[in-house]
């Protein structure tokens, strides 16, 4: 049941993102000062308009594209980089593990905003900054969790048995260890996907959002702060879109995990 909900939501978001220019009749970046801050239900603007008169429905739909883009990019980069590093570190142990963990510690011990500021100094504000900053911060979670899991799985009986049978190390890693660690990677990935989209909101809050007038849910939410008591719809609809996307992707991740993990099909 949950799986259906997950699939339906995720597919809807993807379709909405793909069909944005056709579903919404307005241009998301077209400003119309005379009709600023109109409430939902205004003719021509089912979800209302923002402070510069831009149609909110159009911005939310186009925002879906950006959200999916940011999510996919960052998840791919971090999962691959972090996962691989964690895998190797956990499996080989000894110094690669130590080095990796210390590098992760070094990075985690300084505040995220420093990363964002430094990247900002190099590439300026905008989409690249967001993806780079999020990736730089995100790989560590994978690395640590995967390493921890690998350490535990390594000790399990079937792994010992396979090693005793003379299975090569690489085969051991990819045939026996990885499949048992994969569910964790998938769950973490699904958690991270929605988190990266939400983190975009936090980055915008700190002042490092996308360049206007690009519609991104996070920066829309961040801007809506100033209008909280005046135009509730500016916070409600992007927030709703964010929540539904996160829900859908997470449920999907759960379903994937359940499918991949035979032990649980009891």
């Amino acid at each position: 049941m949950k799986a259906w909900l997950g699939i339906v939501l995720t597919v809807s978001i993807v379709l909405a993102a793909a069909g944005a220019p056709w579903i919404a009749t307005h241009d998301p970046i077209q400003a119309d000062f005379a009709s600023g801050l109109r409430p939902p239900g205004t003719p021509g603007h089912p979800l209302g308009t923002d402070q510069l008169g831009r149609d909110l429905l159009a911005r939310v739909l186009h925002g879906a594209r950006l959200a999916l883009f940011i999510g996919v990019c960052t998840v791919v980069v971090t999962a691959v980089a972090g996962g691989l590093l964690g895998l190797v570190a956990g499996f080989v142990e000894r110094w690669p593990s130590t080095v990796l963990m210390r590098i992760a510690d070094v990075q985690l011990s300084f505040p995220f905003i420093l990363l964002a500021l430094t990247i900002n100094a190099i590439v300026g504000l905008g989409l690249r900054n967001i993806i780079l900053s999020l990736s730089a911060a995100g790989w560590v979670v994978y690395a640590r969790v995967v390493r921890g899991e690998v350490l535990a799985v390594k000790q399990r009986d079937y792994v010992h048995a396979a090693a005793a049978l003379g299975v090569g190390r690489a085969r051991l890693l990819f045939r026996h260890v990885l499949p048992n660690v994969a569910p964790s990677i998938v769950v973490v990935a699904s958690l991270q996907f929605s988190q990266f989209i939400v983190a975009e909101a936090a980055i915008s809050f700190l002042g490092f959002g996308v360049q206007p007038p690009t519609p991104a849910w996070g920066s829309m939410l961040s801007e809506s702060r100033d209008f909280l008591y005046v135009a509730w719809w500016l916070a409600a609809f992007p927030g709703l879109a964010l929540a539904l996307t996160a829900l859908g992707v997470n449920l999907l991740g759960d379903w994937l995990r359940d499918t991949f993990d035979p032990k649980l099909r009891v």
Binding site: F110, V198, L221, R225, K263, V266
Partner: protein, 305 residues
């Protein structure tokens, strides 16, 4: 064991050192510190004069050596913005930060772990479905949005709680809840996942077959073995909480370390940034050390001799 401990402590020192070096470089990349604390009608040559006097015109290597030499003695210099001892400013923020972090962590564990365990044990029940939706929403809601909503409802409309600041226990409620909401969701989900993993293991079947009470099965056999990923996450998060929760502190005007660090960074107040990062760096690596030791205690197979 002792050798391991010493080796790890040595690594901690190395990490802090590397961290400081990295931050030293990164912070200088972010821009000119002198501009931001000077009045706007300052002339170019006066800017230079100030920079000269503060030592920013010296070659980078010299600045770095000077910084390290002083940092080892606990002297991070004077805040460019406030003209006071930088480390002193950081330490002043500690009580407030610890209070908030402690409450948030306690709240998180108290809510999330039972939630996760029950969800796993009663898999696919209504409880499980509802808790999944709730935890996902907990993570999908940006902290600032949740905070502002809570302020609007509880402070403006109902007048039950203050909008922010410090003072009484009431001031602690909303910030702790906002922080905990996010972390609790994560911990709950991972707990559920980890417990589910363990429940499928043979020793659990054995324990059940032996006729052990269900709570014993879960408490002793399951939880201990699924603890690893949970503790990893909790450890990561404790470290981050102690570094100060920037967004929450800003929204609720909580005088913590996160807020200080962010403002110092945005104002390019280098001495304060270095002091703050040194502090969080040490705390963070020590927390990780504790977490790794906890691994060893919980799962003897993982222990490094």
């Amino acid at each position: 064991m002792r050798r391991y401990l010493l080796a790890r402590l040595a690594q901690t020192v190395l990490v802090v050192f590397l961290s400081l070096t990295a931050v030293f470089g990164m912070v200088r990349l972010t821009g000119d510190p002198v501009l931001l604390f000077m009045p706007m009608d300052i002339q170019a040559k006066d800017v230079n004069e100030f920079r000269e006097r503060l030592g920013f015109n010296d070659p980078l290597a010299v600045q770095y050596a000077r910084f390290l030499g002083n940092a080892v003695r606990g002297d991070f210099g004077e805040s460019l913005r406030y003209r006071r001892d930088a480390l002193g400013l950081v330490l002043e923020r500690l009580p407030a930060t610890l209070l908030l972090a402690g409450c948030a962590l306690a709240l998180t564990l108290v809510i999330a772990v039972p939630l996760g365990v029950v969800s796993a044990v009663r898999r696919d029940s209504v409880f499980d479905h509802v808790s999944t939706v709730v935890t996902v929403l907990g993570q999908a809601t940006p902290g600032f949005w949740l905070g502002l909503m809570l302020i609007y409802i509880f402070a403006v409309q109902l007048r039950w709680l203050p909008t922010g600041g410090v003072g009484t226990a009431a001031h602690l409620v909303m910030p702790a809840v906002v922080l905990a909401a996010f972390y609790a969701a994560r911990v709950a989900r991972l707990t559920r996942s980890a417990v589910l993993d363990t429940l499928g293991e043979d020793y659990v079947l054995t324990a059940r077959a032996k006729g052990l009470a269900e709570t014993r099965v879960i408490g002793k056999h399951t939880l201990r073995n699924s603890a690893i990923p949970i503790i990893t996450l909790a450890g990561l998060e404790a470290g981050q909480l102690l570094g100060g929760a920037v967004v929450t502190e800003t929204i609720f005007a909580w005088p913590g370390l996160g807020r200080l660090t962010v403002q110092a960074l945005l104002n390019r107040d280098f001495p304060v940034v270095m002091a703050a990062v040194s502090f969080t760096s040490i705390v963070y690596t020590l927390t990780n050390l504790l977490v790794d030791l906890a691994y060893g205690w919980l799962d003897p197979r993982v222990r490094k001799a």
